[in-house]
């Protein structure tokens, strides 16, 4: 643990992750789950509004997506499973209970590999989501009025609980990243944290290194991004260490992460712990799965990120780090393999995807053929990096390669480029003098050549010509 405190503390972190499953209809009714950006309470029916007399009917697809996820997480699917009611009052919970799973979850005892280490999965179960409260002024405490939007009510939610096997904030983050990659690969969820498809809660405690006992844990909520997850856990580890080292005790409680303040704050202590009065949902018969059905689902599983990562390293010689970056977004790994399939070299292809596409990636990708032509063109010296970026931008806008690269090629003609170099040297005596005083400062001169050539110069060749003349 990277906390600069007196004692050598060990972080103990377990995760609880809620994932919205990518079904077209809700968990127990036929309402569409495509409500994002839609007016409140327009995607509702008697079932998800909890009207008197309404009854739930299980969404088969949701169960299948859960089973597929459980298998991908190496879980044992339980032969016999049932739903239970979790009872509590809240305005976003229209029935006064959430249909969830208590003592017989659909699956247990799995693991996921995170950074070469196995993190055990305790259970994966299925439940329904609640609605949403919208507070006037966006803050609960100061709001005069709150509104209830039940569009989200009853959407299928998968809960994944891990054992407390994570040992740092970075691992906690990597766990969530890995989980997202896995869920996207198998098509179980869009798993977008910012959109709330994937909601991670971390159970955090610390103990002196070498101790077998668990410290008092706090539960971190309101985490809306991977970065926030890492920062929240990191903050909480430091806070707990400070509390313990100043002779205090960690209180078991739920703490929220405040993004503006970059700190956790107490939300609810366990003294007010709810008694959820779980009992079997009498409106739904228990489920049991036929072996053949499970086998068929298992057969449909695509290659999972861990296997793909290993393959990218073994077959294409990528570093483990680059392979991990590519597989975190399944589509990027696919693009990489397609581009290589089109004859581009692996390393530059990976570099271009990681360096130029990944940072701003939001779902749009260039066509593989055009992108492969670009990577090859750069390798062959036909385009310089700037031109490559321009072409990539055009490819992303949907242009074909011919159109995207029209009029762009690198100026590599010795004679033509030498003329430009000579002109630049003549016109900029001051910068030439700077270079003479400090021969490592050739950058500005290369920049001037690039500018004078309208961005077309081959920068390597320009540098050679400059040095050749200046050092003569």
């Amino acid at each position: 643990m990277s906390v600069d405190t007196k004692t050598d503390w060990e972080a103990v972190i377990g995760m609880e992750v809620h994932v919205q499953l990518a079904t077209r209809s809700k968990m127990f009714c036929g309402c569409s789950t495509d409500y994002l950006g839609q007016p409140p309470n327009t995607h509702t029916c008697p079932v998800c509004l909890g009207l008197p007399g309404s009854l739930p009917v299980i969404n088969r697809r949701a169960v299948e997506l859960l089973l597929t996820s459980a298998m991908a997480l190496n879980c044992e699917v339980q032969e016999f499973t049932k739903f239970d009611r979790k009872n509590y009052f809240y305005p976003d919970l229209p029935k006064g209970y959430q249909v969830s799973q208590y003592d017989l979850p659909m699956s247990r005892h799995g693991w996921i590999e995170v950074g070469g280490k196995r993190v055990r999965i305790t259970r994966v179960h299925l439940e329904e989501d609640t609605g949403k409260l919208v507070h006037a002024g966006d803050a609960l405490q100061s709001a005069e009025t709150s509104f209830v939007d039940l569009n989200r009510s009853g959407t299928p939610l998968m809960e994944i609980v891990s054992e407390p096997d994570l040992r740092s904030a970075t691992e906690a983050r990597d766990f969530a990243v890995e989980l997202r990659a896995l869920l996207r690969t198998i098509g179980a969820s869009e798993a977008d944290m910012e959109k709330g498809h994937l909601r991670a809660e971390a159970n955090v405690s610390i103990r002196p290194h070498g101790s077998d006992e668990l410290g008092v844990k706090t539960e971190l909520k309101n985490i809306n991004s991977f970065r926030a997850l890492q920062r929240a856990v990191d903050f909480e580890l430091r806070r707990q260490a400070e509390v313990l080292e100043s002779g205090g005790k960690v209180v078991q409680e739920t703490r929220g992460w405040s993004e503006p303040e970059q700190r956790t704050f107490s939300q609810r202590t366990k003294e007010f712990a709810q008694d959820y009065r779980y009992f079997p949902e009498p409106d739904l018969p228990p489920l049991s799965f036929e072996r053949a059905h499970l086998d068929a689902l298992a057969k449909e599983l695509p290659e999972l990120p861990a296997a793909r990562r290993a393959r990218l390293v073994a077959r294409h010689g990528l570093s483990a780090y680059d392979a991990a970056l590519l597989t975190a977004e399944a589509e990027l790994a696919t693009l990489f393999e397609q581009v290589v399939g089109h004859g581009a070299e692996a390393k530059p292809a990976a570099n271009w995807i990681i360096g130029e596409i990944l940072p701003a990636y939001s779902g749009s990708l260039p066509a593989a053929g055009g992108f492969a032509a670009l990577v090859k063109g750069i390798a062959a010296g036909t385009f310089n990096r700037e031109q490559g970026r321009t072409i990539l931008g055009r490819l992303l806008d949907g242009a074909g390669f011919e159109e995207a690269s029209a009029g762009l090629s690198q100026l590599s003609d010795q004679g033509e480029l030498a003329a430009i170099v000579d002109r630049v040297l003549v016109e900029n005596p001051k910068i030439v003098a700077d270079y003479r005083a400090n021969p490592s400062a050739i950058g500005p001169l290369v920049g001037l050549v690039m500018k004078a050539s309208g961005g077309t110069a081959n920068p390597g060749l320009a540098r050679e010509l400059l040095k050749d003349r200046l050092d003569r």
């Binding site: 008697p46 909890g50 009207l51 008197p52 007399g53 009854l55 009917v57 229209p94």
Partner: protein, 487 residues
């Protein structure tokens, strides 16, 4: 003329409608007149639906005019609906103030099937609030009176539906049975009441009391009518996952009891508080069945004594969850002056629920609480399994079980309202069939001092045919038929 229309059976009226001796509109008008005349005393209806009924009757007449082939036996027949069935755009309150003004945007499946069949909806009938009670005195609105003696209760919780049929205010009605809420009022009003196997009729749109115990069924004036209505209501419904898909074959209805073994459960004849008159009437009915060719066998249901206790854990536990949705946030009663969400919850539920509902919500909440779950709910579910097993074993020896439906005839209004346990004991003979999910029928046996007595027939799972076959045989052999009370 009027009495011929309001005192008849579905079968008779269907014939007359088809022969054009009477129109559906005339049939409706006769019933409206009857309701106007007697409901001031009986108070069976919480609210009537005259415009809807008129439209449905006119439509029924069009269907009848279009041709007699394929006309459903319920087309044009006036029906009363217990206030627990969601009826589209008609205020449906489960007899509770908390749902005052609630108009469901959809039909319960049972209601939808009656609507499709062409039945004419007279209105919503009174019941104990959320079907919790055995006398209809727990209604959030007013008590219903027994048409045979208006100082007495009609039973409950479906007291309004039973009284409407007994008083000639509807040709048939539908109700729900969770611990005996169809059969006990049927017994106390001299009507035929039946609930099939758990899941035979969809619960979709039935305002839930206790989900694993709630059954839907009819009140009629004959076994034949009962079979007709059950046949209409029954059948798989994709909207209720506990509703099964199995054919209902009632073709043996008139086959008699010759060769059938009827089980007499020792424990059902020894319950505390069984009135002498009820004993006599039931003994007589059993003799009639014997003479008609049935073989009588003694059987035992050894866990009967624990049934009531198990029932009063399971039912309140489920209702404590089912009724959580009445929180004043989305529909029904709410407290606009409440300062906080919690205050609104508390005020809405304190105001909106009656004493019996609050009692059961507290019992059920307690029984499910952490630390008590195993001792109460789990234990009760185990007892429930034992009770099911009792019936399974009994049905190894017999085809159907016969007993009294209620240990007493209709009691006086107010007699048991101060003593919840005495009220709970009204269901001691009926709730076993609910806990086990078995078909349970009540039909009138010979009345005692002018007050109806009910004969109960319980049959094995999925064997509604056997209960009805026994009931029909009794009707034919005894000549005791459901009658309309002279009001």
């Amino acid at each position: 003329m009027s009495e011929e229309l309001t005192h008849a059976t579905i079968a008779e009226l269907h014939g007359r409608l088809r022969r054009k001796e009477v129109s559906a509109v005339e049939l409706l008008e006769a019933h409206e007149k009857r309701i106007d005349a007697v409901d001031g005393e009986v108070k069976a209806y919480l609210r009537r639906t005259p415009e809807l009924a008129r439209r449905q009757a006119e439509e029924a007449d069009r269907r009848l005019a279009a041709g007699d082939h394929g006309v459903h036996p319920l087309t044009g027949i006036p029906v009363a609906i217990k206030d627990v069935f969601c009826t589209k755009d008609v205020e449906t309150t489960a007899g509770s103030r908390i749902l005052a003004g609630f108009k469901p945007p959809y039909d319960a499946t049972a209601v939808a099937r009656l609507r499709e069949a062409g039945a004419v909806f007279l209105g919503m009938t009174n019941c104990d609030e959320f079907a919790m009670g055995s006398s209809t005195e727990n209604s959030g609105y007013w008590p219903t009176h027994n048409p045979w003696d208006s100082t007495r209760v009609p039973g409950g919780s479906s007291g309004g539906s039973a009284a409407a049929v007994a008083a000639g205010e509807a040709v048939f009605s539908i109700g729900s049975d969770t611990g005996g809420s169809i059969r006990q009022p049927a017994a106390l009003t001299g009507t035929v009441g039946f609930k099939g196997t758990y899941g035979r009729v969809s619960r979709h749109g039935l305002i839930a009391f206790a989900s694993s115990l709630d059954h839907v069924g009819p009140f009629t004036r004959s076994i034949d009518d009962c079979a007709t209505v059950l046949g209409t209501l029954a059948g798989h419904d994709p909207l209720d996952s506990t509703c099964f898909d199995r054919p209902l074959d009632l073709s043996t209805l008139n086959d008699g009891v010759k060769g059938l073994k009827l089980g007499l459960p020792r424990e059902y004849f020894e319950v505390a508080g069984m009135e002498e008159g009820v004993k006599r009437s039931i003994a007589e009915a059993i003799d009639v069945l014997k003479e008609a060719g049935a073989e009588l066998v003694e059987v035992s249901l050894p866990h009967t004594d624990y049934g009531l206790a198990a029932y009063y854990i399971v039912a309140p536990a489920e209702c404590s969850s089912n009724l959580a949705r009445y929180d004043g946030v989305r529909y029904g009663l709410s407290d606009p002056k409440a300062e906080t969400v919690l205050e609104n919850y508390l005020n809405t539920r304190r105001e909106g629920f009656g004493a019996e509902v609050r009692r059961r919500l507290m019992l059920g909440t307690y029984a499910l609480s952490s630390g008590y779950y195993d001792a109460y709910y789990l234990k009760a579910m185990k007892v429930r399994t034992l009770i099911k097993r009792d019936f399974d074993e009994a049905f190894q020896k017999c085809d159907a079980i016969v007993s009294a439906t209620s240990p007493t005839v209709a009691f006086k209004i107010g007699e048991k309202t101060g003593d919840p346990l005495a009220m709970y004991l009204c269901d001691v003979l009926t709730l076993g069939a609910d806990l086990a999910g078995l078909p349970g029928l009540s039909l009138p046996s010979r009345a005692e001092d002018g007050l109806p007595v009910g004969l109960q027939v319980i049959s094995p799972q999925f064997r509604e045919d056997l209960a009805l076959q026994v009931g029909r045989a009794y009707e034919m052999a005894s000549g005791v038929l459901a009658e309309v009370a002279p009001l």
